[in-house]
Symmetry: C2
Subunit: 194 residues, 2 copies
DNA sequence: GACGGTGTACAGAAAAAACTGAATAAACTA
DNA sequence: TAGTTTATTCAGTTTTTTCTGTACACCGTC
């Protein structure tokens, strides 16, 4: 691909090439890592490029570095910002949106991890809170029917699920909030969708 | 869709319909949950269907319940087994492969979680172990050049990454192994690819 | 060995996702 | 207000993923 700051490097030498290659390897690993969490290769690659960038990058910078259209980079960077792996910074002297990688990997990890788990807990509690009372209502009704037997079995399974998510909820709150307090300079807000 | 065991239920009543709907809701939530971890909706739905199934299901059972071809169900169930969300069981009296959901959600979670993090740690350590010595070599060379400045900056960034993964490694080992010991009836083996 | 039942490989169809250029909107400048 | 610069929307294209039916391999039974 292209040297990230070839504007500053007049002549190339073997070591410069080496650095290119090594960065490429690291970026590839980051990309693979992020794909474990459901991000596509493009998102991972942009994350890696931002990681090595010495200055905040504009959409045009990233577009050039990625060899992709500005449109794509725009959506990709939004994904990264959404995942808190990158953030927008304001620079005086330019009207462009500038972005930098989230350098604090501890923060990145705990944010990403926490957010996903919180989403998961919320999602499942919501449906359990909706469904369990209805099962209880059925079970409070006529005492013997095939439907009742169905309901009984579902109900006990779902109680087990609830037990799990109760545990997971406290796991997230306890362990990972501890972690945050330990690592974070700034308190993070949770971005929720309505 | 279709009642999971309508072969046993002669007549339908409102409550049976309710149970259908509630199961659908729970299955949908499970599906969404799994999509947070990069699985597609089909995988999640099959997981939900297996969760509510009273008996182990064959490929044909699942194919019918999902309204999908046997071929698709075959690959989907392999995904679930790979993620340890389902497992194959042997039943005497049939030659079919039978599958059940992994009911122990604690185990499912810790397995999935651990495996992903372990993969991540291994992946990144591998590339760091390859790349950091090369950077050191460059830094040991001629004392002043633009390339050297590049290398210095990369190197310190990568040391930070290494610090992170060292921490993550011990996090996984300590906290999650504790968790496993706490929850698991049977010791799990890690499935590694060569 | 032939046969019936079962799981999976494979090639192509269908669906979804990623990507693009052109058009539009928004935000600033003069 | 008109003009610039930048980000985003949108419709269409390319690429990737998912799904299907057919074919085949495997394994027991007759």
């Amino acid at each position: 691909m292209k040297n990230l700051d070839d504007t500053h490097v007049a002549k190339r030498n073997p070591e410069t090439e080496d650095i290119e290659e090594m960065r490429e390897l690291v970026i590839e690993a980051m990309s693979q890592t992020m794909s474990l969490y459901g991000f596509n290769a493009t998102v991972g690659r942009l994350c890696g490029i931002l990681f090595f960038a010495k200055e905040p990058m504009s959409l045009d910078d990233m577009s050039q570095a990625m060899g992709m259209s500005k449109t794509s980079v725009c959506t990709t960077i939004k994904t990264l910002v959404g995942a808190k792996a990158a953030k927008q910074v304001w620079l005086r002297g330019t009207r462009k949106d500038m972005y930098v990688a989230e350098k604090n990997f501890f923060q990145y990890f705990s944010d990403f991890f926490c957010n996903n788990l919180r989403t998961e807990v919320a999602l499942n509690f919501a449906v359990l809170d909706k469904v369990l009372p209805l099962y209880e209502k059925i079970l409070a009704g006529e005492s013997r029917s095939p439907t009742r037997a169905e309901a009984e079995e579902d109900f006990s399974k779902l109680l087990e699920v609830k037990r799990y998510y109760t545990w997971l909820d406290s796991f997230v709150k306890q362990y990972l909030e501890d972690l945050k307090i330990l690592q974070l300079p700034n308190p993070a807000e949770s971005p929720d969708e309505p």
